[in-house]
């Protein structure tokens, strides 16, 4: 009798242990798969699902399967907050990937220190990692790096006077702050500072006042479809001033929307969209070409930089789990900070306790749009 009791007790003790060993690693993700930013969120969601399948087919991480819980925030701040709450409190995930847009990221990032779960945002704004939040990382190149690349190019061209036009959402406001700081700092004069709404359909009024200010170059900061309207309006108004775009339009969709008006526009872009033009010995070459092949063969959609942000976020998490041999949120966070020389689609990541973006301006190539395609400029 006692032996039987002992055996039952032993069995009861063993069940949870063995179950735990086989339990999948739960990773949360919240992307803007629908709504105005669906062009960001959809490739991100696809990428994460595709990668999780690939990893699981290859045997998973630490012998455990990956289970990715993906929510769609519909590009809505409130829905994003709810989705993150659900991931942290109900799904009990070990890491959260996303959100896709800066505004949503800024709204939810303070939940992570309390929950002690790391987040890897796929949004661009520098404010996400500066000032530093110990639990928050991000994979897209910072707007500061993009602005630096644009202004370096403008310096080489000998421009002196710059006009800026930015969108009034989180992405645009963050870019505007950096532009207002760096334009004078790098020796330019800021001639005009215009703003447009994310749903505006006509920006000729703003461009007309920019035209009146006679700048040497215009920098536009926004994500589709606004910049496409601006490119069209610029041609319509007969403005010949060079126009720089941000990395927020680095997708084929932009060229499709702007049509002929996209010709000659300049922008900083990650190497993903110019994969065939980067030298074979570049460390990112195999990573980006493999990702492009996998993605395009599975989803029958052209590649965009944005899916790459999600690729980096998930692979960095996997790397951190493998480094520490643990899927505990605290360990993942600690090990993320130790990652060095990780080759991703957005650049080569070197995280540290002070730098949760891990990239610098060299992550960008300056590209020009020619014949409906991107071309690296020297």
């Amino acid at each position: 009798m006692t032996i039987r009791c002992f055996l039952i007790a032993l069995a009861l003790l063993l069940i949870p242990v063995s179950a735990q060993a086989e339990e999948p690693i739960k990773i949360g993700a919240v992307f803007s798969a629908t709504g105005p930013a669906s062009f960001l969120g959809e490739p991100e969601k696809n990428t994460v699902i595709m990668l999780a399948d690939q990893i699981n087919e290859a045997g998973g991480v630490l012998g455990r399967k990956l289970e990715v819980v993906v929510y769609d925030d519909e590009t809505d701040v409130n829905k994003c907050v709810l989705a993150v709450d659900k991931l942290l409190k109900k799904d009990r995930v070990v890491t959260v990937l996303g959100p896709s847009v800066s505004g949503n990221t800024l709204a939810v990032m303070n939940k992570f220190p309390a929950a002690k779960v790391p987040m890897l945002s796929c949004a661009a704004a520098e404010k996400i990692v500066n000032p530093l939040n110990p639990w928050v990382f991000k994979t897209p190149q910072s707007d500061r790096h993009a602005v630096t690349r644009i202004l370096e190019h403008a310096q080489n061209e000998g421009y002196k006077n710059i006009a800026i036009i930015t969108v009034s959402d989180g992405y645009g406001q963050a870019g505007r702050t950096v532009l207002q700081e760096l334009v004078p700092e790098m020796g330019f004069t800021l001639m005009a500072d215009e703003v447009y709404g994310p749903k505006d359909t006509d920006m000729t009024a703003q461009l007309t006042s920019i035209k009146g200010a006679q700048p040497d170059a215009i920098i536009c900061w926004g994500t589709n479809p606004g910049p496409a309207v601006i490119a069209k309006n610029r041609v319509q108004l007969g403005i010949k001033t060079p126009l720089y775009m941000s990395h927020g339009v680095a997708s084929k969709k932009f060229i499709e929307l702007a049509g002929n008006a996209a010709e000659g526009l300049l922008l900083p872009a990650g190497r993903l969209i110019v994969a065939d033009q980067i030298p074979d010995d570049h460390p990112q070459k195999p990573v980006v070409t493999n990702y492009i092949e996998d993605y395009e063969s599975r989803f029958d959609q052209p590649i965009s930089s944005f899916g790459g942000y999600a690729w980096d976020a998930l692979m960095l998490t996997v790397k951190a789990i493998e480094m520490g041999n643990s899927a505990d949120p605290q360990d993942i966070r600690d090990n993320l900070e130790k990652i060095e020389g990780f080759v991703g689609t957005g650049g080569i990541f070197n995280f540290s306790a002070e730098d949760h973006n891990g990239l610098d301006a060299s992550a960008f190539e300056m590209v020009i749009i020619e014949n409906g395609d991107w071309k690296i400029v020297e």
């Binding site: 669906s38 000729t204 009024a205």
Partner: protein, 291 residues
């Protein structure tokens, strides 16, 4: 300086014409039923999206435009037959809430079937800008202004000179009396939904080349069109058109001369001020009730 003012005016008139066309749709349904149809912006969106869909399916542009307009008119007719007519005894407020529900359904269906991306439609007659006293305008702007003008004139003729149009007006004035003198009220209401879907769809198709289009374009247009309608005096088609032009021009000058950050605010501030001073709108007559 003068050329920039001219540019603000041209841009404002082009955008304003589309607000006006959306506003026109509101007045047509309001005039026969007393309902504010909040799916009006969706008619505009449907026009643009269906045209894009048909054009990408290989239809030549004129055929795609025609198909889009016909498709939207059918949606307008179905909307009246399936959702407005069956709830005959509902109050105006209940009917308005139904239209809000329909707008959400239409938006959802378009998002799932036609996609959630933004799309571009080719310009009707080239993309070479026309220079005009230092300002420029696209040939598409001329199309927009001209077609708006033609529709306005046709509506004026319809409502004041034809028996059918007068019968529609009679329905809004007193439904029961119109019925007693032999006007088929049900037919008039159905027709008013089709007519406003037509006006909205035309607006959507002529607008899409200039401003791009997407499944959620209708919300903002509906809002601005409604504001145009209120500004001009609810129920007055010409007031709606004029109100749209005024809002467009105000926005354009506000964005150009004061600050582009508050572009949407100017129109609504002026609208609020006007409603304090003249609640019936710029061109509306104060209501007189005889007992």
């Amino acid at each position: 300086m003068l050329s920039s003012y001219l540019q603000y005016l041209i841009s404002g008139l082009t955008v304003g014409a589309t607000y006006g066309l959306t506003g026109l749709g509101f007045t047509i349904i309001y005039n026969t039923t007393g309902i504010i149809n909040f799916a009006q912006g969706e008619f505009v969106m449907l026009g643009g999206m269906l045209a894009v869909f048909l054009a990408s399916a290989g239809a030549p542009l004129p055929l795609a435009l025609l198909g889009a307009v016909i498709g939207t008119v059918i949606v307008g007719a179905l909307m009246e037959r399936l959702t407005i007519r069956p709830v005959k005894n509902a109050s105006v407020i209940q009917l308005i809430i139904i239209t809000i529900g329909i707008s959400i359904v239409i938006r959802g269906i378009v998002m799932i079937t036609l996609g959630k991306d933004t799309f571009a439609l080719p310009h009707f007659s080239g993309e070479t800008p026309i220079s005009l006293g230092g300002a420029t305008l696209m040939p598409q702007s001329i199309w927009i202004l001209a077609i708006t003008g033609v529709i306005l004139a046709a509506l004026r003729f319809f409502f004041t000179r034809t028996l059918f149009g007068k019968a529609m007006l009679a329905c809004s004035y007193d439904r029961k009396a119109a019925y007693l003198v032999g006007v088929s009220v049900e037919r008039m209401v159905l027709f008013s939904f089709m007519l406003s879907a037509f006006v909205g769809a035309v607006g959507g198709t002529i607008l899409a080349p200039l401003t791009l289009t997407s499944y959620d374009r209708g919300i903002m247009l509906g809002l601005k069109g409604f504001a145009a309608c209120i500004l001009g005096g609810l129920g007055n088609p010409f007031g709606a058109a004029a109100g749209g032009l005024i809002i467009g021009v105000l926005e354009s000058f506000g964005a150009g001369l004061i600050s582009s950050g508050y572009k949407d605010a100017f129109a609504f501030i002026v609208l609020l001020l006007l409603l304090f001073i003249k609640p019936s709108g710029l061109f509306g007559r104060a209501q007189v009730k005889r007992v």
